[in-house]
């Protein structure tokens, strides 16, 4: 009787949240999956079921493949730049935890992660600017020829990787610092007694013990890398000033197909590809964690 009453209360309390959740999350996710199998154009009345034809078309779509390649390069570029740097910076900040400056270091590294994307990207746009920017000024001071950072096909991708890494670094550092705080102190003391130096215990103790955290941060960084949009929108305008065209990314291509070409079904199939990538990365993370748990 009492249990039944509590169950009714729980159901009634959860119901509004559940309803909202179903409407703004479950339904659109299901709808994305459904639309990807239809030729669903805004302009045409007929919206026939076409099976996997959208996906087959994607495989030959140069703009999409271009976007997929760029996005993958950006995501992995950010990963390989961010994780080693974050690990080292976090280790050093943790080493200096007791100093008065630790709070300042942590805040300074973390601020780029919380500031709004667009104003921050604006700052970098000036830094990379070929004619006015301090980066080229610095290079020419060193005697290195000036580069056309934002319009060169390779350099503009690098610019986006740098901007995204600048933003992602703070998050990774913060998570690593939490990881360092949770490592057993006794182990380090034992290593020290055995004559291990600081760098040695970092390499042979910290890095293996922080592996679950490294996996977690890597997946978070990769997933947000695959969703890159604002950074490319601001930084990579093409020569005509059309935003984001210089370096095409997945989200931009998807939004263009949906809102410029009115091909919603086709855009939904791109969203499904994005979803599959994210799910794949998450599965890899979980299976690697489980493997580690078994040994």
């Amino acid at each position: 009787m009492l249990k039944r009453k509590r169950f009714i209360f729980a159901m009634l309390a959860i119901l509004p949240t559940l309803a909202i959740f179903a409407y703004v999350r479950l339904y659109p996710i299901a709808d994305t999956l459904r639309l990807s199998l239809f030729q669903w154009n805004i302009l045409s009345k007929n919206k026939p079921f076409i099976g996997l034809a959208n996906f087959r078309e994607l495989m030959g779509d140069h703009l999409f493949l271009d976007a997929l390649v760029n996005t993958t390069i950006i995501a992995f570029g950010v990963l390989f730049l961010t994780i080693p740097m974050a690990l080292i910076i976090a280790a050093l900040i943790f080493h200096r935890t007791r100093s008065k400056m630790a709070g300042f270091y942590e805040t300074a590294v973390f601020i780029p992660h919380v500031v709004s994307l667009v104003p921050a990207a604006m700052a970098w746009k000036w830094i990379f600017d070929a004619r006015l920017g301090p980066l080229n000024a610095f290079l020419s001071f060193l005697g290195i020829p000036m580069q056309n950072w934002l319009f060169d096909p390779v350099l503009s991708v690098i610019c986006i990787i740098i901007l995204c890494s600048w933003q992602a670094l703070g998050y990774a550092v913060l998570i690593y610092i939490v990881g360092f705080k949770n490592l057993p102190v006794s182990l380090y003391e034992a290593a020290k007694l055995d004559g291990a130096s600081g760098p040695q215990s970092f390499w042979y103790l910290s890095i293996p013990m922080l592996k679950p955290i490294t996996l977690y941060v890597s997946v978070v960084t990769l997933v947000s890398g695959f969703n890159v949009y604002a950074q490319a929108f601001v930084l990579a305008s093409d020569a005509q000033g059309a935003p984001g065209r210089q370096v095409r990314v997945l989200v931009l291509d998807m939004l263009e197909n949906s809102f410029r070409n009115y091909r919603v079904g086709y855009a939904a199939s791109e969203a499904v590809v994005l979803l599959v990538i994210v799910l794949g990365l998450t599965l890899i993370q979980f299976s690697m964690l489980r493997e580690r748990g078994r040994t």
Partner: protein, 302 residues
């Protein structure tokens, strides 16, 4: 007994040789040098991380002529507030900031409300049905917003709420991670005995939730609120598609489209950006502890 006495006694018992003393001194000096090197390195990293933002704020105070000067200056020679005046005249900047604040505040309220209720129910009412529902919430947590925002856009459109704060809000009403965070806190910091005792004393479920559970969750709710606020404040893709009229833009969208105009004036752009950045950085520095607690708990999945 004061610490001095302790060391005094210790010194008396174990007479260190001069060599040992010298060795200790050398090690301590080495350690101090090491720490100094680390501090210098971290200081350089910190300054490099902040430098782009410093550039931006400095640019906001430059005259158009100085903006074009080569080599670029770092500190403006002749600071002016003309850029700020111009940008406030050119664009509905304050309106955009207002839209963003309204959106972020409402989203924060919605997320805190839905997360605290759902987190409490999932944490303390362990029925089979609830566990299934929780698994459902958790399973969708990894689906990025970008994946389902196009169907959501058409839902907002059929509700007739495009170009309004309600349209923005519909994408940011619930946060799977928030529910998860509150549930963890409920499980770890609210003992079952406390709730049972209140029930035996005749307290209703609503009273228990508002008078016992919510006050105990204050820390976690604070962290969640800060996360939710910044999440909405920095949102980009969703506001970009939902708002298409100049007066309904959020600050992110307004700035992004402002910079694609043909006559891009970097000074004005920087002034507009600085107007947005400075308050949000101040807010972050004030709320840093909450924020760090919230973000740090994202990493502790187990």
């Amino acid at each position: 007994m004061t610490p001095k006495d302790v060391t005094g006694k210790a010194m008396h018992h174990v007479e260190p040789t001069a060599e040992e003393l010298a060795e200790g001194l050398r090690l301590r000096r080495k350690k101090r040098l090491n720490n100094l090197a680390i501090d210098i390195f971290l200081m350089i990293v910190s300054v490099l991380m902040l430098l782009p933002l410093v550039f931006l704020v400095a640019n906001a105070f430059k005259t158009p002529a100085e903006m074009l000067a080569w080599p670029p200056t770092i500190i403006p020679n002749d600071p002016t507030t003309a850029n700020f005046k111009a940008v406030l005249g050119d664009t509905p900047l304050l309106r955009w900031i207002g839209n963003s604040i309204a959106f972020a505040v409402m989203s924060t309220i919605a997320i805190v409300a839905t997360s605290s209720i759902a987190g409490y129910i999932f944490g303390k009412f362990r029925f089979q049905t609830m566990n299934v529902l929780f698994a459902l919430f958790l399973a969708t947590a990894i689906v990025p917003f970008e994946v389902y925002m196009i169907p959501l856009y058409f839902q907002a459109k059929s509700l007739g709420i495009l170009n309004s704060v309600w349209g923005l809000l519909i994408g940011y009403l619930v946060m799977s991670f928030g529910i998860f965070l509150i549930r963890q806190n409920v499980i770890h910091s609210i003992p079952d005995e406390l709730l049972e005792a209140a029930r035996i004393d005749g307290a209703g479920e609503f009273w228990i939730f508002f008078r016992i559970v919510l006050p105990l969750l204050r820390g976690a709710l604070g962290a969640l609120a800060v996360l939710a606020f910044f999440q909405a404040w920095t949102a980009f893709a969703w506001p970009m598609i939902v708002t298409t009229t100049r007066s309904s833009y959020t600050i992110e969208v307004g700035l992004a489209l402002f910079q694609t105009g043909f006559t891009v004036d970097l000074g004005r752009l920087s002034a507009a950006s600085a107007t947005v950045l400075i308050p949000s950085i101040l807010l972050f520095v004030i709320l840093r502890r909450n924020f760090v607690q919230g973000v740090a708990s994202t990493g502790l999945k187990e």
